[in-house]
């Protein structure tokens, strides 16, 4: 761990999804290692910073943008999305309507934000509040895998901010995809290669993201 050999990455990550799904809770758990059932509703956007020792040579700083979930604020998202490198889209497993909104959030994201190489930003889907035992959607992991492929997510995780389940894992998955996409500059200079489902080939290669 010599100073001169350390690399530093700074990534802006978005955390989006319907109101009350637990975006703020996930971030507080991830960054401050605590949980409260009484975080106040996010208005506009809040920020948090997480520093990861990625490996012996690499430090990753994550700037987490906690974006308000209410639809009325949707017009502001363009300002908040700019220059993000990755995103989490969160839904609440106890409220099916929040899962239905996931595709809406993904479309909003992809329509307003692309990487410099023209590709959509790597996005991980979080099925939060999995501790609640009202697991209406998760009984079929294969369906979720399918859903992710069809909608361009690089992976999905059942998470619980309350019980600290899978949040670190989800973050590592997202960061790995960001680093991979950064060290993959060939495609960016050859636009011909870019296809709508380019990410799907990567999904298979990341075993961490998909539980079998």
């Amino acid at each position: 761990m010599q100073k001169h050999s350390q690399k530093e990455h700074l990534y802006k990550l978005l955390v989006i999804g319907d109101l009350g799904v637990g975006k703020t809770s996930i971030i507080k758990r991830y960054v401050h290692q605590n949980f409260s059932p009484h975080y106040r509703a996010t208005i506009g956007v809040d920020f948090a910073l997480k520093v990861l020792s990625w490996d012996a040579e690499t430090v990753v700083r994550l700037q987490l943008w906690d974006i308000a979930g209410q639809e009325r604020f949707g017009n502001m998202t363009r300002v908040y999305y700019r220059e993000a490198m990755g995103a989490f889209i969160v839904f609440d497993v106890t409220r099916p309507a929040t899962f239905e909104a996931v595709t809406k959030w993904k479309e909003d994201l992809d329509s307003k934000l692309v990487l410099p190489n023209g590709k959509p930003v790597p996005t991980v889907l979080l099925a939060n509040k999995c501790d609640q035992g009202i697991d209406v959607l998760m009984n079929n992991g294969i369906k979720m895998d399918q859903f992710c492929k069809e909608n361009g997510f690089v992976g999905w995780f059942e998470t619980s901010a309350k019980e600290n389940i899978n949040i670190n894992e989800a973050s590592r998955c997202l960061v790995k995809h960001i680093i991979d996409s950064e060290s993959d500059p060939v495609q960016s200079v050859e636009p011909d290669i870019i296809k709508p489902h380019l990410n799907s080939s990567k999904i298979v290669s990341c075993s961490a993201c998909f539980k079998s």
């Binding site: 109101l19 009350g20 059932p37 009484h38 975080y39 106040r40 509703a41 208005i43 506009g44 956007v45 308000a68 209410q70 009325r72 604020f73 017009n75 502001m76 300002v79 908040y80 220059e83």
Partner: protein, 432 residues
């Protein structure tokens, strides 16, 4: 050259009329200044604190302000604020700006910020008789504020604590005379609303605040004889709405609204209030009825915070000397609670009438106000503006909530309440 510092006044000072436009280049150099010279600050404060009372005669006020200001002290305090509150600076200035009705003022106006804070503290204790009891109640309320999960609160509050020691008996006397003025004005038979606005601009004593707010918002008529019947009628009207609409909260077309409110109420501040089931019920009803009756905006997050100041102030009408945040609301008689609920609903409605485009599609009101803030900062503190610009920080990224929640999230509740004394004078639209 000496920059003037103007205390809050009504009507607000217009530098265009007084020919004191400030050059943007007159900013102090950014050298760090230690906090040690408290006496200098006190000197400055005593020179300017009386500015808050004047207002009967603007020219007189301006003359005094110009005479008493010591440039060194002004600059030093400005540095202190810049150094120690670099983040808060924006907010402070913003509030101060609004107190001055968005007129162009120089960098020296930063110095009036601590003075303004101090005033906010004092106004909370109005109605107390001895200054020692003031200090006790203030320090306890401050500790609570510090425990709020807001990054911005502690520096602001500790700043107030520093200056708190300068409360003098003379001010208490002054406050007593202010209270008398208010009482006379409110006694009728017809309250002169213009006079009430003038007086309220620099803060309303706690004891008369409930009735003053009801008058300023237009909820109560100026004529004393008509007040009681108006209250009766409006309270009846509100509960007729509740009867008519509240059962529909689980209907298909309303359940989304109700669910959002229901999710948000446990997430509002202050913490102690929201943990009381009685308060939760009342807030849910107020917000749901308002949302149903205002479909153009519906319920938007942040509106829930706007009920709180009204509710807290109106509860104060029925309790003695107690801190509302620690008060068990359910100990009030049912009828009293209903009155508080209806009054809060109507006053909040009046407030929202003036700022409804804050909450309609795309929130044009807020977009406009954030834009105004940006223009304002670019004019009065180009350095800050440039800094934000260089780091590609957009004003919408940090100032959105200031506007959306009318600063409810940025300052302790008792400061918001004091700010609202002033806001109500020239309608909220002007400020936010």
């Amino acid at each position: 050259s000496i920059q003037h510092v103007y205390g809050a006044q009504h009507p607000p000072f217009d530098p265009l009329l007084h020919g004191t436009l400030i050059k943007p280049g007159s900013k102090p150099p950014a050298t760090p200044v230690k906090l040690k010279k408290v006496s200098t600050f006190q000197e400055f404060e005593s020179n300017t604190s009386d500015a808050w009372d004047l207002g009967d005669d603007d020219d007189e006020l301006l003359a005094i302000a110009a005479e008493n200001l010591n440039t060194e002290v002004v600059m030093e305090t400005a540095h202190k604020v810049i150094q120690n509150h670099s983040k808060l600076q924006e907010q402070h200035k913003f509030q101060e700006e609004h107190l001055q009705e968005e007129k162009q003022v120089g960098s020296a106006e930063l110095t009036s910020v601590p003075c303004g804070d101090n005033r906010l503290v004092k106004s909370v204790s109005e109605g107390h008789t001895s200054s020692s009891s003031d200090n006790v109640s203030e320090s306890s309320s401050m500790q609570r504020s510090q425990s709020l999960p807001q990054t911005s609160t502690p520096p602001l509050v500790s700043g107030m604590a520093d200056y708190n020691t300068s409360v003098t008996p003379a001010l208490t006397e002054r406050e007593a005379s202010r209270l008398d003025k208010f009482k006379q004005l409110l006694a009728g038979p017809n309250t002169d609303l213009e006079e009430l606005r003038k007086l309220s601009w620099s803060g309303i004593p706690k004891r008369v605040r409930p009735i003053a707010w009801k008058l300023l918002s237009g909820y109560l008529p100026a004529n004393v004889d008509r007040r009681e019947s108006t209250l009766k009628r409006k309270r009846k009207e509100y509960f007729a709405f509740v009867e008519q609409y509240y059962d529909s909260r689980n209907d298909e077309n309303h359940q989304d609204t109700y669910r959002q409110i229901h999710i948000d109420i446990p997430r509002m501040s202050p913490e102690v209030l929201r943990l009381q089931p009685k308060v939760t019920e009342i807030f849910e009803r107020i917000l749901f009825i308002w949302a149903i009756r205002h479909p153009a905006s519906g319920y938007v997050q942040g509106i829930n915070d706007l009920v709180t100041p009204f509710f807290v102030v109106f509860v104060c009408e029925y309790i003695e000397e107690e801190e509302v945040e620690n008060f068990d609301v359910s100990s009030l008689p049912e009828e009293v609670l209903q009155n508080i609920e209806a009054d809060s609903y109507w006053c909040m409605s009046k407030l929202l009438d003036g700022i409804q485009d804050n909450y309609t599609f795309a929130q044009p009101g807020i977009q406009k106000k954030v834009k105004m803030l940006e223009e304002l900062v670019s004019r009065i503190d180009e350095q800050v503006h440039r800094h934000l610009d260089q780091h590609e920080v957009k004003y919408l990224q940090f100032a959105f909530r200031w506007m959306n929640n009318l600063l409810m999230r940025e300052v302790p509740l008792h400061c918001t309440i004091r700010l609202w004394d002033t806001y109500q004078v020239s309608t909220f639209l002007h400020f936010h």
